[in-house]
């Protein structure tokens, strides 16, 4: 058991986590750049905003988490709430 605990796994090294995140950031940047290079056919007005989907995705998720956190103050109860 003890030598199992000492075994280093992929994400135990902070360097690997950093590499993964950096790769991820690069892809994000490339996707925004691609928005200006690739022609996007649009049907709706707001789709014409540059990088609309990227902005929308980011804002939507932040909003989702912030609202969900607020929701906790109203709906959250103890784990055994219904067992009492």
């Amino acid at each position: 058991m003890s030598d199992k605990d000492q075994k280093k796994y992929l994400f135990d090294k902070p360097g690997n986590v950093k590499r993964l995140l950096n790769g991820f950031y690069v892809v994000c940047i490339l996707l925004v750049i691609a928005d200006f290079i690739i022609y996007r056919h649009t049907t709706m007005e707001w789709e014409n905003i540059p990088a609309f989907y990227a902005i929308y995705g980011f804002v939507a998720c932040v909003l989702l988490v912030v609202l969900a956190k607020k929701m906790r103050t109203v709906v959250m109860r103890k784990e055994d709430y219904y067992d009492e």
């Binding site: 994000c28 989907y53 980011f58």
Partner: protein, 567 residues
């Protein structure tokens, strides 16, 4: 032979399972979906109608078209994968339930009339509750009971609707029903309960997380998808469904973000996915309806895959709370990869199954100019990725190291998950095969530069939001908690209300009694003191003698009456 309903094969197998043991039983369990799928593929064409007479009533056990065949294939695949996943379980009850449950789902999609549909509707309810009760805990037994009440109630609505429909139209055929009549609304509510409409959904989020490790995988595949099929047949194009669907797609994701039980997170995301299907059915164009049923097809497989991966964790670790998991990728790498494939599929990444099916519903929304609703659905799409695509794999397999070092999932589980994952990628990268099965004629291809680019932007920046929130420590931590949902109404509010009401009425009764008894006492006292009380007849007598005297008086009346008329 071509008219043998496929559910018969499943029901025969259920009997064979009872009579067999060990390896033979396992072979029967595995062979049933394969034989049923071969039977459907080779012998059953579109356009078959076969009836069976019982008590002067004709049940249409088989009515086949592309819509029912698509779901039939899906249910065979789902039951095959779930059976492999559950192969290590030696529990006769669950094995029989699995066969009856999948068989009933097949029976329901081939049902040509509402009574046949009702019979399978109730069989689905009764057989599926076994999976919840199989967990054996007190919580599971209570949750199973609540689940069963909802399911049976749905059946009661369906039967009532069917009878009213018959009274009004003289026909019980199950075709487009619409919302133009009382019967239509009754049946709509029945379908609504089973497809987990808002406020009618709590049986799902309450029951599914309490089911056994393998049971939830079965449950996630059939009940809601039979309901989606029924809605597509009975209520396509009813606009109210668009709004219901959008609500279903949006509200559960908030719960999914703060929920700790990861199987409950998946239950919420199941409602979210059904929301996309319901929206498609509500739009009602060929593209939207194809999108709805195609999404049902891919959802059964990727949602099954996600429930299987969480089931594997539950099986190895013993609980499935996000707050106490993490770092499992170290010892369960295969399950991790398979879970991520399911997560990518549900998030609709290009080359994975969700991408090719969900996009049809989104395209239909744009085409029919539901611009604002389209924004809500885009929000829901980003939200799915957030809670199901990232949260599930992240908190279970990565996040902080929980110190847990469970063994890799058993081989049968890995095979089942591997099959589902292969299908997810196959459907996603070769959608033409799924598209050729779709019921309506439509020309749609999901892979163009705009669509791929915009979807990738949406998803990567949703992920970026997750990374940023985590780095800023803004992401809500996983907490041991219960989050109030619609089931609070009947689990706390109504019981508490009834309890208070009973106490209130008891108090009223007591004060009324004291108020009424006091004058009665005084009347009795004054009566006993009066001189009439000394007569024999005014003593207090038993009821029996009173009855005797009354009947004597009545007999006297009778005799007088008879003789009076004779004279």
């Amino acid at each position: 032979m071509s008219e043998l309903p496929p559910f018969v094969l499943y029901f025969i197998s259920a009997f064979l399972v009872v009579a067999s043991r060990g390896i033979v039983r396992k072979i029967i369990l595995l062979a049933t979906p394969v034989i049923a799928a071969l039977h459907i593929g080779l012998n059953i064409d579109t356009g078959i109608i076969s009836t069976y007479s019982i008590l002067n009533y004709e049940l249409t056990l088989m009515r086949t078209d592309k819509l029912s065949l698509l779901f039939a294939y899906l249910f065979c695949i789902a039951s095959f994968i779930s059976t492999i996943f559950a192969l290590h379980v030696n529990d006769t009850k669950q094995e029989i339930a699995g066969l009856v449950y999948a068989g009933s789902a097949l029976g329901a999609v081939f049902a040509g009339d509402l009574i046949t549909l009702f019979i399978f509707w109730e069989l689905l309810a009764i057989s599926s509750v076994v999976f919840i009760w199989a967990r054996g805990t007190e919580r599971a037994i209570d949750a199973g009971m609540r689940y069963l009440i909802f399911q049976v109630m749905s059946g009661v609505f369906l039967l009532a609707g069917a009878l009213v429909h018959y009274h009004a139209t003289g026909s019980l055929a199950f075709n487009h029903i619409g919302l133009g009549s009382t019967a239509g609304w009754l049946i709509f509510i029945a379908f609504g309960i089973k497809s987990a409409f808002p406020f009618l959904h709590s049986w799902l989020t309450d029951g599914y997380p309490e089911a056994s490790v393998t049971g939830t995988v079965f449950l996630s595949a059939f009940t809601t998808k039979v309901a989606v099929y029924s809605l597509a047949r009975g209520f396509a194009g009813e606009e109210i469904l668009v709004y219901i669907g959008v609500t279903m797609a949006c509200f559960p994701i908030f719960y999914a973000v703060i929920e700790n039980d990861l199987r409950k997170v998946l239950a919420y995301s199941l409602i979210n996915q059904v929301g996309f299907m319901v929206t498609g059915i509500g739009i009602g164009t060929a593209l939207a309806l194809n999108g709805a049923v195609a999404h049902a097809f891919s959802d059964v497989i990727f949602k099954g895959l996600l429930f299987m991966s969480m089931g594997a964790v539950l099986y190895r670790v013993g609980h499935i709370n996000g707050s106490n998991l993490g770092g499992l990728y170290k010892t369960m790498p295969k399950t991790t990869v398979l879970c991520i494939i399911g997560a990518l599929s549900i998030s609709a990444f290009p080359l994975f199954s969700g991408f090719v099916s969900k996009s049809m519903v989104m395209a239909a929304l744009v085409k029919e100019e539901y611009n604002y609703l389209w924004l809500f659905m885009l929000f829901a799409s980003a939200g799915v990725f957030h809670h199901a695509g990232i949260k599930i794999p992240y908190f279970a397999f990565f996040a902080h190291d929980s110190g847990l070092r469970p063994k890799e999932a058993p081989v049968n589980m890995l095979i089942a998950m591997g099959l589902a994952a292969t299908l997810c990628i196959f459907i996603g990268s070769q959608p033409q095969y799924l598209y050729s099965l779709l019921p309506w004629e439509v020309n749609y291809w999901p892979y163009d530069a705009t669509h791929v680019l915009t979807q990738l932007q949406l998803l990567f920046f949703s992920a970026l939001a997750f990374v940023w929130l985590n780095k800023q420590c803004l992401y809500p931590p996983e907490l041991h908690s219960t989050n109030l949902d619609a089931d609070w109404i009947y689990r706390k509010f109504l019981p508490a209300g009834i309890h208070r009401g009973l106490i209130f009425f008891r108090k009223i009764k007591e004060s009324a009694m004291t108020a009424a008894i006091a004058p009665m006492h005084s009347i009795r006292n004054s009566f006993s003191q009066s001189y009439i009380a000394k007569y024999h007849l005014s003593e207090s007598w038993p009821t029996g003698s009173m009855v005797f005297w009354i009947s004597l008086v009545l007999v006297a009346y009778l005799i007088l009456d008879i003789f009076g008329s004779v004279l």
